[in-house]
């Protein structure tokens, strides 16, 4: 049983870039794929959260801030919550979700309740919670950089299959949040395209006037999905102190929130494509280093630029009239809905 349930550990879950595993599992592709999945996981979580928010028609530029608040909360949880390791870890994850949700609440109230400009509100939140803001303040006042985080996400070895060629390290040796993100992709796909609530959500994002006329509570959906988006962003933020860099530093998330924003577009607001995009971005983050470690000379800046260039290309393609009707953004994204006074 020992290999089965390594939920929390002190060893961490990061893949080893220089070499990992035996034989074929240490070849370049597998290593890159493994690190893509690893570094892409927070992007998947935050991206899925933003997808929910945008599907309801709300643009949330405060993603980075919410991730940071999630990271702070998770760090606090892991450092301070007593009891068995797994309990502290779960507490940290819950704290992260609550933190993200609370911040999203502020954004939701401002843009839905007060019809504040969505872009400005989101940016203000990122600055408020950002690397020079509340997250840093709280980290300071809770003394979160006093030491490495004790309870971190460990790697499972599911059913002992971790050593299978190729699929072993990729599918069977991942951590809790990565598996959770996969479940979430499937669950959200089902939610969006096979349930009534999901249909209603899509209607709210495409045409709030229609949804309202059909008796769908537009505001409630927007509040709900914005807050849920924040919770997921917080969860994504938690991945950083709990899996990537176990010691708190200001601005820990390093701008990943902005990437998650681009990801949603790249993924055409669909969960399965967001997954693919997240891993592409995740790969490019470590690709440069991995290649260099293997002696391959490619400009790391060029590699790092590729996902952003690709996103622009995708965005241009999605913006043509032909595409907009078939795969484009929710039609009402970014515009506040104001039913004429009743």
């Amino acid at each position: 049983m020992s290999g089965l349930l390594v939920l929390a550990s002190t060893a961490g879950a990061a893949p080893d870039l220089a070499s990992s595993g035996r034989g074929v599992n240490s070849n370049l592709f597998v290593v890159i794929a493994a690190s893509a999945i690893f570094y892409g996981t927070p992007l998947v979580l935050a991206g899925l959260g933003e997808m929910l928010t945008e599907r309801s028609g709300i643009l949330n530029l405060g993603l980075e801030g919410m991730m940071l608040m999630g990271a702070v909360a998770a760090t606090w949880g892991s450092l301070n919550v007593g009891g068995p390791g797994w309990f502290a870890l779960v507490a940290a994850l819950v704290a992260a979700m609550v933190a993200g949700a609370l911040v999203a609440c502020v954004h939701a109230v401002l843009v839905i309740g007060f019809r504040v400009e969505q872009i400005v509100s989101g940016l203000a939140i990122t600055i408020l919670a950002g690397g020079a803001g509340l997250s840093s303040y709280l980290a300071g006042s809770w003394d979160l950089s006093r030491g490495p985080v004790p309870h971190r996400l460990g790697r499972f070895d599911v059913l002992g299959l971790g050593d299978l060629p190729v699929v072993g390290p990729l599918l069977f040796r991942q951590n809790l949040l990565t598996y959770a993100s996969w479940l979430l992709v499937a669950a959200l796909w089902w939610y969006l395209f096979r349930t009534r609530r999901g249909l209603h959500l899509r209607a709210v994002g495409e045409s709030p006037a229609t949804a309202d006329a059909m008796g769908i509570p537009v505001e409630r959906y927007r509040y709900g999905h914005t807050i849920a988006g924040g919770a997921l962003a917080g969860l994504g933020g938690a991945f950083f102190p709990l899996a990537i860099i176990p010691l708190w530093s200001d601005g820990l998330t390093g701008g990943r929130g902005w990437i998650a924003l681009a990801l949603v577009i790249f993924g055409f607001w669909r969960p399965e494509l967001i997954l693919v995009g997240a891993y592409l971005f995740g790969a490019s983050a470590s690709l440069g280093l991995t290649l260099q470690a293997r002696g391959v000379e490619v400009s790391p800046q060029l590699l790092a630029s590729l996902p952003y260039l690709l996103t622009i290309v995708v965005l241009v393609a999605v913006s043509t009239g032909w595409a907009r009707r078939r795969v484009g953004a929710p039609a009402a994204l970014g515009t506040p809905y104001e039913r004429e006074s009743r």
Partner: protein, 508 residues
């Protein structure tokens, strides 16, 4: 027996002092088609929004089967059995028909069942539609069918239709009336909102007339004359046939607008203009009548340079227009009074003086190099306000605060002061009160007398007949029959507007 649906003393006010409905009473019996008749702005849409839970009445209440109800949201109304088909459809364009029908209901989503329901209801009531088609792929008539199916799928006992035939061909309108009769045969009721007297006659059992927010009376259609209904609608005796307005000068020979073989696609890619030919001479008014949705909007946009024509040519005062370019059109001598005053014609939040200067700000005397001379701009605005008698608290008032008639005067002032050779006026008096209508018509006629060629697009036959020198009918993207006013017969024109080509034959 208690009425299926009733309004008791319903009053609804809006910020700014507008009273859209005042103490309105209405009762709709089960199994009847009850028409709500009134001009634009009479309060019909507001009342229907109250009846369907979108608005809450400030005074009075709604009754269902004799029991007072207070809707807190549209959902309550839908569950009480009130369905509505709006003028602007409440459909999600990117969804399929089945998905739209499934919206708003409870319980797990059953996609196959929804599709089956659509097919089933479609067969039962004569509303065939493909459940898996996406809304943007459907024609307007088919989309309306989806709206009705939506209401029927919720077992609506009262169906309210807001100006349903505005976007239908006469054939489709007949089909719609048949559907309505099938529904009332089952004991359901229909509220038919319209401003067209003859349609109301064709389909309704009783009619309630609204004017200026008040219910002026309810009549059995079998007993009421058109004259009586028209009087209730307008408040005074209305001359039902129009005499031509007097003109100072006959039209000239010079052609100021020539449209030849123009074809264009609509917003959905469907063919909107199928080869339009027309000419307008200096000092002449060419009136084009037609039911909305037959290509008028697209024609206006092509001439104004806002829409691409896939074939054909447009010449303004002899200058051929190439790619769509509103600036070139203006420079060649075109003036436009668009149908959508407050959004295509003007910037609503800007002050009146800015909107008056929208065309002229680029040239001297209002411009000096890259700068705009604000003092000159204001002086000019004041002069135009005087000349056109625009009622506004001042030149700096935001334009959207003006009444409809004065908004139209701002547009006319702006376009006419640029001394156009051609004036394109689309539904210029729609929604205006009687005094404003007269003023606008006077301005158009005096422009023609000054040598401007006027292309008048209107739904209102009376307006066309009172202003035009020559008359034509637009139907499904083509011009049917172009003839002199003297040869035009109201009934023939009406038939042509409905696509009856037999009449056209005899007229030309």
């Amino acid at each position: 027996m208690a009425p299926a649906l009733a309004a008791r003393g319903v009053t609804k006010r809006f910020p700014g002092g507008v009273v859209a409905n005042e103490a309105v009473d209405l009762d709709v019996a089960p199994g009847e088609v009850h028409a709500l008749l009134g001009e634009n702005g009479a309060g019909k849409s507001t009342l229907s929004n109250v009846l369907t839970g979108l608005y809450r009445p400030d005074e009075g209440h709604v009754e269902i089967d004799g029991n007072p109800v207070a809707f807190r949201s549209p959902r309550d109304a839908i569950e009480a059995g009130i369905g509505m088909v709006h003028q602007h459809f409440r459909l999600v364009e990117t969804f399929t028909v089945a998905e739209n029908v499934a919206l708003g209901r409870r319980g797990p989503l059953a996609r196959r069942a929804s599709a089956a329901l659509v097919r089933d209801l479609g067969d039962r009531y004569g509303l065939p539609v493909d459940p898996s088609a996406r809304i943007w792929q459907l024609s307007v008539g088919e989309q309306q069918r989806v709206e009705i199916l939506k209401a029927l799928s919720r077992d609506a006992r009262v169906l309210i239709l807001d100006e349903p035939t505005a976007v239908l061909t006469p054939h489709e309108a007949e089909a719609l009336f048949a559907v309505l009769r099938r529904m009332t045969g089952e004991g359901r009721s229909v509220v038919f909102i319209s401003h067209k007297l003859d349609e109301v006659r064709a389909v309704a059992d009783r009619v309630t007339v609204l004017r200026d927010g008040r219910a002026e009376g309810t009549r059995l259609l079998a007993d009421a004359t058109s004259r009586e209904l028209a009087r209730l609608m307008v408040g005074r005796d209305v001359v039902l046939s129009a005499d031509r307005m007097p003109r100072r000068r006959p039209p000239g020979d010079e052609v100021v607008l020539r449209v030849h073989g123009v074809e264009a696609a609509g917003d959905r890619g469907e063919p909107a203009l199928r080869g339009i030919d027309l000419t307008v001479h200096a000092g002449e008014v060419l009136g084009i009548c037609g039911v909305a949705g037959n290509g008028q909007r697209e024609l206006a946009e092509v001439i104004a340079g806002g829409r691409h024509a896939t074939a054909g040519t447009v010449e303004i005062a002899g200058t051929p227009m190439g790619r769509p370019d509103p600036r070139r059109a203006h420079r060649a001598g075109l003036g436009i009074i668009p149908e959508d005053r407050l959004h295509t014609g003007l910037a609503p939040s800007l002050p009146v003086e800015d909107n008056l200067a929208l065309l002229a700000h680029r040239h001297p005397p209002l411009a000096a190099g890259p700068f705009v001379r604000r003092r000159r701009l204001r002086e000019r605005a004041r002069a135009l306000i005087d000349e056109f008698d625009i009622r506004t608290p001042g030149p700096t008032t935001p334009t959207r605060l003006l009444s409809g008639g004065n908004v139209q005067k701002v547009l006319l002032a702006r376009e006419l002061s640029a001394r156009p050779r051609v004036l394109l006026a689309a539904s210029p008096t729609r929604g205006l009160d009687v005094g404003a209508i007269e003023t606008v018509r006077d301005l158009i006629v005096s422009a023609a007398d000054d040598g401007v060629g006027v292309l008048l697009l209107s739904e209102d036959l009376d307006e066309i007949l009172s202003l035009a020198d020559r008359v034509a009918v637009i139907y499904e993207g083509r011009i049917l029959s172009e003839l002199d006013r003297a040869d035009a017969d109201v009934e023939d024109l009406g038939l042509l507007m409905g696509g009856d080509l037999v009449a056209g034959r005899s007229a030309s």
